[in-house]
Symmetry: C2
Subunit: 230 residues, 2 copies
DNA sequence: ATAATTTCAGACCATTTGGTCTGAAATAGA
DNA sequence: TCTATTTCAGACCAAATGGTCTGAAATTAT
């Protein structure tokens, strides 16, 4: 059985040659090793792709960084593109998660404040993810658009309604909800995606705790005051 | 004389073999043709690099789009990297220009409103430039950092002072000027750099005049209210 | 032990691609 | 017209790189 086959085998698969049935324990051990190696490769790929882009990154480079041979890498991922897409898929999950937290029951000001903080933490703790996502979207998301479009659209549409409700209740200044969401994304991701520019200008990055706090409270000031009802 | 030599020749260059001195008119015509071709190539390069990145774009592709042969392209630009850097250099000028307009004499609210509009127009009218700039900065600006760092730092430092003055005069809410600048950049560029995402979510782009207006007034609402003194 | 299967390494291949070489057309000065 | 110079095209090259092939080591079940 090759690791490359994606779906888990169904438990009982009818017509099987009556052969070795590996013990559950061994299978688990194997799985764990296998998964660990996959994870290592995915990690190296994320880091390399985010630095040099899909085309700028070479398989040799990634294999070297993951400390596996090129052949071995191709044993786990059948092509460069599959590897790249795998990285993107993991990333999309992570990226979308924070937004799901928005619910009508929350106090909007608190909800937005939390969202800004979480996204800013994401920029600090996952800059490679942020940048790779940015790169992919910027180039038209040729390999992610189909998977991005629908879930993103649905999710945002949902949250738009939440925001609109808040506005209707007078809890938020009347702004077009779309643009509020865009502003939140843009301002928070900026610190990861334009890190070198931020560093060139301010001399600091989010890894500096003081700068992180300063950034957080500045964004809160600007955006929260921007949307607070008056 | 090869076009490739960069600096304009000094008018009188002492020890010259007493050879043909081309007429000014002819030189001009040549220059014009030459410059036009360079510009065509730079255009194609910008468009292609911004779509596929430095490594993803091929010289053949660019040459094809510029409707010149590869050899001809290499006659004007000695290497792919030089072409790329040339594109970046032009871009940097364009990118920095709007910020220079900030002066203490202005009314801050008006100044910021104008800046948002101009940057948003830039996103609408020069999306390729915006994206290429973003890509380069995101990857650490390996080929632009030296040229970016100093002028950007100086310019921003200057504008920071202007903003701080406004704050001290009570004309602006007390926000860390750096972050105001970052927020302005981030929110306006977002509509170019994340165009496909914006389109996936909102179904429209800045090219739609209605959407442009809506975006502009939303950003004005959020940011201007965010920084208006209270 | 041993047979089956999974995991992996090294040599190798085919294509892409940035860049060069040679020389020919086009242009311009005399 | 004749000569020098610029501009450009086509064939060609060398390196990089995504990917394969063969077979050997590890691992696992019996």
């Amino acid at each position: 059985m090759s690791v490359i086959r994606k779906g888990k085998e169904t438990a009982s698969e009818g017509k099987r040659k009556p052969q070795r049935v590996p013990s559950a324990a061994a299978l688990n051990r194997r799985m764990r090793n296998s998964e660990k190696k996959r994870a290592t490769i995915l990690d190296a790929a994320l880091s390399t792709f985010s630095k040099y882009g899909l085309h700028g990154a070479s398989i040799d480079q990634i294999a070297l960084q993951a400390d596996v041979s090129k052949t071995n890498l191709f044993y786990y991922f059948s092509s460069k593109e599959e590897l790249y897409v795998s990285v993107l898929r993991e990333l999309l999950d992570l990226w979308l998660k924070p937004l799901r937290a928005f619910t009508v029951e929350q106090d909007p000001i608190e909800a937005i404040r939390d969202y800004v903080r979480v996204k800013l933490e994401f920029s600090r703790d996952h800059p490679a993810e942020s940048r790779l996502f940015c790169m992919e979207v910027m180039q038209g998301a040729p390999l992610m658009l189909t998977e991005l479009q629908q879930p993103l659209h649905d999710l945002v549409e949902n949250k738009i309604e939440v925001i609109q409700t808040w506005i209707d209740q007078g809890k938020l200044a009347p702004v077009e909800p779309y643009h509020l969401v865009f502003s939140l994304w843009a301002t928070t991701q900026h610190y990861a995606d334009f890190r070198v520019q931020v560093e060139a200008v301010a001399g600091k990055t989010l890894e500096d705790p003081g700068f992180f706090q300063e950034t957080l409270s500045s964004l809160e000031t600007i955006i929260l005051n921007g949307v607070r009802p008056r």
